[in-house]
């Protein structure tokens, strides 16, 4: 029976319908794999994992890789070199420029809306973008 089920499940996989349009996000996948969900919360996740090969594969891979990952590779806080994060953020913000410019042209913005902190970071870094992008 075990072999029979094995063959049938694999055969069904071959003829399975295309992957679902929506997928579980990393947040739900992590919460499921870590066993943090209550029964009611996990029910739709389990149903999705049965129907969705890619998401099920992700959860399986996380478990598989996790068992291979040595404990010493777990969190090891690093000593930061001064200014590293500032440079990192500048570099990351610089990559925003193209989409920022597009949005500036096409996106509607609430007149009353106050720019948030992230928007300020983007604005400040904009002049550097051209330089970094080259």
């Amino acid at each position: 029976m075990r072999h029979m089920i094995h063959e049938r499940l694999k055969a069904r996989l071959a003829t399975a319908s295309p992957a679902l349009e929506g997928h579980l996000d990393e947040d739900a996948i992590c919460a499921f794999v870590e066993g943090r969900l209550e029964e009611a919360e996990s029910s739709p996740v389990i149903s999705h994992l049965i129907a969705c090969g890619p998401c099920r594969q992700t959860t399986a891979q996380l478990v598989r890789f996790d068992s291979e990952f040595a404990p010493e590779n777990e969190l090891t806080p690093l000593e930061e070199s001064p200014g590293r994060v500032r440079l990192l953020l500048d570099r990351l913000a610089a990559r925003l420029a193209p989409s920022f410019e597009e949005d500036a042209v096409f996106a509607y913005q609430e007149p009353a809306a106050e720019p948030d902190q992230s928007a300020e970071v983007i604005s400040e870094s904009k002049p550097e973008t051209v330089k970094d992008g080259d």
């Binding site: 071959a14 947040d27 919460a31 943090r36 969900l37 590779n73 992230s118």
Partner: protein, 337 residues
Amino acid sequence: MCAAELDAIYAVCAESHSDFDLSAADFRDAVIGAINKYLIGSREGSVVPSAHEISRFIGELQDRDLFLALACARGNEQAWWEFDRQYRSFIERWARHLVRGGTDADEVIDSVYVELFGTRISGGVRQSKFRTYTGRGSLRGWLRAVILHTVVDLYRGRKPEIPLEDWSGNDEAREPRGRFAESRGTEEIMLASVVRDRYRSATNAALDQSLAALDDHETLLLLYYHVEGLKLREIARIVEQPRSPIRRWFQRQSKRRGTGPPSRVHESTVMRWLEKVYKKVSDRFHAELADKHGLNAAEIEICRNIVTEDPAQGVRLDRAVAGSDNFNKEEAAKAPG
């Protein structure tokens, strides 16, 4: 009651990291988002969670991780400094573990940081990946999933996916219809082939029905083991957590749900669960073939062999065909293509 609890959690986090510059309102909005996603979103209809459920949910949140993620999402430099200090080495090692190639790993690490920061702006807000983290699981576990998805995207972008029809387990692919008969070229063999198709059809229908009758937890267990190829000890890791839904479901079925401290789930436990599922499928499979398809014991045995047979060997159908009231030769001959 919940608001006070939430304020208390925020106060503790803000005291530890006042330089993160995260407001109580932002923190509260994120927690409400998590409640909507998991506690309310998982319920059918308009069932509202009780104050006790909300309180428990808030208490279970990885609040410090959430606080850090929210501050990072807003681009706070101190928060990024803390995140980079705590997780950079983990991200690098995990990426190199998954990819095992220096250049590719560097590309993955770079992509992860770009995604975490966010390169797209919507409604004037930078869409940082951190905004999708709710604190339901750990930030470390969430990062693992983010890195894995980044690796998958990297390789998917480079080469086309393997077509499903290449999968060797496909019955149809292994034995194209009619080829068996053509190679032998005799009427008798053609007839046997048609009968075999009928048995195969009944077998697959009965097996599918038996599998469909399983509970979702049982189905997922089978899929992890047989389709994803997880080892018993790896499945045991999934259900290791006392709150694992799969673990709790099986424990409830066996009426051993813990009154004492939760025990470890060993490989033997998972094997025992699998054996129970096999038995359930087997019983249902036999009942389906006997009751719905009217097959006798010999025919059911043929059906079992059909699923697992080596196509080169074939199955001896003579005895069953001769003695069957259901799949007799005339009926088989009349069977549509």
